[in-house]
C-alpha cells in the first residue's frame, strides 16, 4: 500500500511570547510590527506529519496557510521541518481580519479534495482566537471521521488509533482513513529546522492561490463588535476560619441559607 498523503494546516499567529496590546479603538489587537510565528499546535501537527513520513507511513506532506503574504514565512518553516510542498491561499490583510474558521475550513476541505489527501492534520486551536473549530468543520464538510485533541497517534491496518485528551481523562478511538486529526500539546516536541533542511526548503515548491480558486466565498458572517482587555484581577481576602467562609458565601447568595 503506497503511503498516506497528508495536508497540514498552518496558521500564522502573533508569537506566544509577545505581550498582546488592544488597539485604542477596541476593534482588535495590534498586529503591525509585532513578531509572528506558526501557531504552536500547528507546529506539533507538522512535526507529527514529518515523524509519520520518517516511519514511511506518510509519502507526501503538503502544508497550507491562508492569509496575507507573510504567511509564506510559516510555510517555509513547515518545509524546513520536512513538509514537501506548500500552498499559500492568499487573502488580503483587510479581508484576513474577518476571516473565520468556517471560511478556512471550506478552503482547506477544497484543497484536501484537490490534492487527494488521506489525512488532514491541524492544531486543535489557534492561540489567537482559541476557536477550536476549523478541524471539526473540515471533517463535517468532507464527511470524514475526526479525532481531535490527539496526544498519541498509531497506525493500524487502514486505520488510525488515536489517544485523545478529553475533559474526563484519556480516550482511545479508532478512525478509518481518510480522516481529520487535530493535535494537542503532548503529542510531540517539534524539532528545530536543521541548517541542511533550511537549505533544502529553498528549493521546495510554494504555490500561490486565492479563495476564489477554490470557489469559496469569504464574506464574513460574524462581526466583531468590541475587543477589550480582560478585567484587572481583584485582590482576594484572607479569612480566619471555615465558618467565616460559609457566612460570606451565604451573604453573597452563593449557597442556600
Amino acid at each position: 500500500m503506497s503511503g498516506i498523503r497528508v495536508l497540514v494546516g498552518c496558521k500564522r499567529v502573533i508569537d506566544y511570547a509577545v505581550k498582546i496590546r488592544v488597539k485604542p479603538d477596541k476593534s482588535g489587537v495590534v498586529t503591525d510590527g509585532v513578531k509572528h510565528s506558526m501557531n504552536p499546535f500547528d507546529e506539533i501537527a507538522v512535526e507529527e506529519a514529518v515523524r509519520l513520513k520518517e516511519k514511511k507511513i506518510v509519502s507526501e506532506i503538503v502544508a497550507v496557510s491562508c492569509g496575507p503574504t507573510q504567511c509564506q514565512e510559516v510555510l517555509r518553516t513547515a518545509m524546513a521541518m520536512g513538509a514537501d510542498r506548500a500552498i499559500h491561499v492568499e487573502v488580503d490583510p483587510a479581508t484576513y481580519d474577518h476571516l473565520q474558521p468556517l471560511h478556512v475550513a471550506k478552503i482547506l476541505s477544497k484543497v484536501a479534495q484537490e490534492e487527494k489527501v488521506d489525512l488532514v492534520l491541524t492544531g486543535k486551536q489557534a492561540i489567537d482566537d482559541d476557536a477550536n473549530q476549523t478541524g471539526q468543520m473540515i471533517a463535517a464538510l468532507l464527511d470524514w471521521p475526526q479525532a481531535t485533541f490527539a496526544s498519541k497517534v498509531e497506525k493500524t491496518n487502514g486505520e488510525l488509533k488515536v489517544l485523545r485528551e478529553i475533559d474526563g481523562g484519556l480516550e482511545t478511538i479508532k478512525v478509518r482513513l481518510p480522516a481529520v486529526l487535530t493535535t494537542d500539546l503532548r503529542l510531540n516536541q517539534p524539532r528545530y529546522a536543521t541548517l541542511p533542511n533550511i537549505m533544502k526548503a529553498k528549493k521546495k515548491p510554494l504555490v500561490k492561490k486565492t479563495p476564489a480558486d477554490y470557489g469559496v466565498d469569504v464574506t464574513p458572517r460574524q462581526k466583531v463588535l468590541k475587543v477589550e482587555d480582560p478585567p484587572v484581577r481583584q485582590a482576594g481576602a484572607k479569612l480566619a476560619s471555615v465558618e467565616e467562609l460559609v457566612a460570606k458565601l451565604r451573604d453573597a447568595g452563593l449557597i442556600p441559607t
Partner: protein, 423 residues
Amino acid sequence: MAAATAGALGRIRHSFLRRQLLSFRRQLPCTQAQRSVSSLIDLPETHALLRKTCRDFAENELMPVAGQLDKEHKFPQEQVKKLGELGLLCVDVPESEGGTGLDYLAYAIAVEEISRGCASTGCIMSVNNSLYLSPIMKFGTKEQKERFLKPFLNGDSIGCFALSEPGNGSDAGAATTTAQLTSDKWILNGTKAWITNGYESAAAVVFATTDKKQKHKGISAFLVPKPTDGLSLGKKEDKLGIRATSTCYLIFEDCSIPQDCLLGQPGMGFKIAMQTLDAGRIGIAAQALGIAQASLDCAVEYATKRQSFGSPIAKLQAIQIKVADMQVRVESARLLTWKAAMLKDARRSFTKEAAMAKLAASEAATFNAHSAIQVLGGMGYVTDMPAERHYRDARITEIYEGTSEIQRIVIASNVFKELGHNL
C-alpha cells in the same frame, strides 16, 4: 550652425557615455552588489529562517541553563551535540565535504544568536568553525580532511587552535614552540597558552617554529590528535567569564606526530594563522554582538517592569539615553560584522572590515553589559539576573583573537595603505 554641431556633438557624447555605462554595468557583478546592499536592510529568506532557528534554539536550550553552566564551570556537552545535529558546528564547510554549505553571513548570524543564549557555547561554536575547521578546509590534504575534518562536523568531536604561548600573544611571530623533523616524525617541544576547548577537543591546530633563522617565515602549522604521547594539558584556567569553556595550557614534551600531520607547506604557518584569525574575527565579533544584544534585552525588559517614582523606569530619560546608546552601538557593530562577512563571501579583501567589526562589537559588548548592570541597579550585581554574567563574558571579547590594540593597528595600517602610504 554652431548650435546644430553642439547638439550633434552632445548626442554623440551622450551615446558614447551611455555605451560606457552599459559596458561598465555588464562588467560589475550587479546581482551580487544589489544583493549585498539589500542584505543589509532585509536578510535573504534562508538567513532569516536560520536566524529564527538559532534564536529558538538559544532561547529554549541555552538561556535556561547558561547561568548554571557558568556557575559550575561546566562544558555544555549536550548542547554542543545538539548544535552539531543542527549543522551549526560546520556552517561554511561545503556540502561536498559533509558540511552545511552556508556562507559567512549565515555563520555570523548563527554565532550571534547562539551567543545571545550562552556566550560560552557561542565561543565553543566559533572556535570549532573558524579556528579549527577553516584552516583544515583551506590547506588540508584529502587524507588530513578525512582524519581531522570529517569527524569534527556533527558535534562528536570538536577541535582547538593553539597559537598563543606564555611568552607571546600579540607577538605571534615570536613563537618558541619548536618542531623538528626526524626520519618520519615531527617532534614538538614547547607550551601553548590560553587554548579554548583545550580539555574537550579531540585535535588541535598547533603552530611551531621549524626554522628559527627565518623568524616568522619559519613557523609551520601542524595537526595534532588528542590525546597523544608527549602532550599534556595544564590545569583549567579559572576565568572571569565564559566559564563553561575550558581554557588551558597545551604542554609538548618530545611529542612526536606523523610526518603527514604538517598542514600546508613548511614555513606557511604564520600565513595560515593570520588568514585564519582574519575570518575568526568575524566569529568573535558575532559572539560579542550576541552578548551586547542579550545585555540590551535584559535592560529593556527590566526597565519596563521596575517601578520607581510611581512609573516604570523606562519612562526616565536617564534610562532612555542608556538604551539608545546601547542600541546604536550594537546595531552599528552588527552592520560592520555583516559587511565583513559579505565581503568575505564575495571573495574580496575583508581584513580591515573584520578588524573594525571585532573592535566595534567587543567594545559594544562591554559597554552594553556595563550599562545593563547600571539599569538593573542592585539586581544587576547579583546572579539572579544574567546582567552580571554578560558583564563577565563580554570582557574577553576585547582580548582574544586579537586585542583591541592590535585591531586598531590593523585598521590604521590598512587605511594608510589604501591611500598609498606604505609605512
